[in-house]
Symmetry: C2
Subunit: 185 residues, 2 copies
Amino acid sequence: MNFCSHCAGRVSLRIPPGDRLPRFVCEACGTVHYENPRIVAGCIPEWEGRVLLCRRAIEPRRGLWTLPAGFMEKGESADEAAARETFEEAQARVEVLGLYTLYNLPHISQVYLMYRARLLDGVFAAGEETLEADLFDESMVPWDDIAFPTVRETLMHFFADRRRGRFDVRTGTIGPAPWQRPPAP
Amino acid sequence: MNFCSHCAGRVSLRIPPGDRLPRFVCEACGTVHYENPRIVAGCIPEWEGRVLLCRRAIEPRRGLWTLPAGFMEKGESADEAAARETFEEAQARVEVLGLYTLYNLPHISQVYLMYRARLLDGVFAAGEETLEADLFDESMVPWDDIAFPTVRETLMHFFADRRRGRFDVRTGTIGPAPWQRPPAP
Ligand SMILES: [Zn+2]
Ligand SMILES: [Zn+2]
């Protein structure tokens, strides 16, 4: 951030009076520009016992498999965001059944909210950011080609909890993946 | 938003190619400025069966009672944010026990994440944004002077679930409070 989005004045990074953290503060009009973590909302969409996964057509992690998920928008709820992303990425209409996992990713200031869901009619197709979408039995999940640790964790818990017959909400904090860590010095 | 925070160019509100929603796009450098919902994280801090509430020293809802909560910062997890806000607003150190409620407030683009917690040592005091802090038995909660619907809902569920002896995560979407709605035409 270089300039104030309100008045185009220069901003500088400093701790405003009464605050604890450095913020971008406008030197002209005094506006404090806060930055906040972002929510990624997605689904574990089920159809006849199988789970719908998408192969990513975009970076990061192009070519790898993920659950449909994306940034929550202003004016919607997290479950609406999860259903919207499922339609955008996998062209699938779902009923959202309930919150299932909350993962913090503090190194990239994201919070993942993943919801259990069921396809309404079994229809799906690759959306614009997806190379292909497909339904997987637990035994067919491409575990070595899952795009993100949050998705791997969510899927592993999901199948275990489904066998157990009970889905409690699971939460956790996940650090950088190997491909996100800086190389050793 | 009037100007680009990157180059100080004028921004205009339009739908970028491949997008679905209007965004602030810089007419000079093309940067798309996304806006996202914000997370409010807080605690239901318990000590010897009583719950710690704070009377707000700031607007909105100055003078009314709330659970300690505030905006999550970049680089922290939601449970860390909940504990930090509890210390800032009520000078109380807590152990966070688990996620308890998730409430969507789409009309103001916020997601509330409230955690069960217990005071480590029973010590508390009013923080800078708090007029007074106090511990309340269920029968003493000032129900008519609770600041926010999210806090009221969280507290009502909390006491019911505590009697029941089981705390499942509760989620929901809450619309504008009466004092947030525009006056009837
Ligand atoms: Zn300014
Ligand atoms: Zn620009």
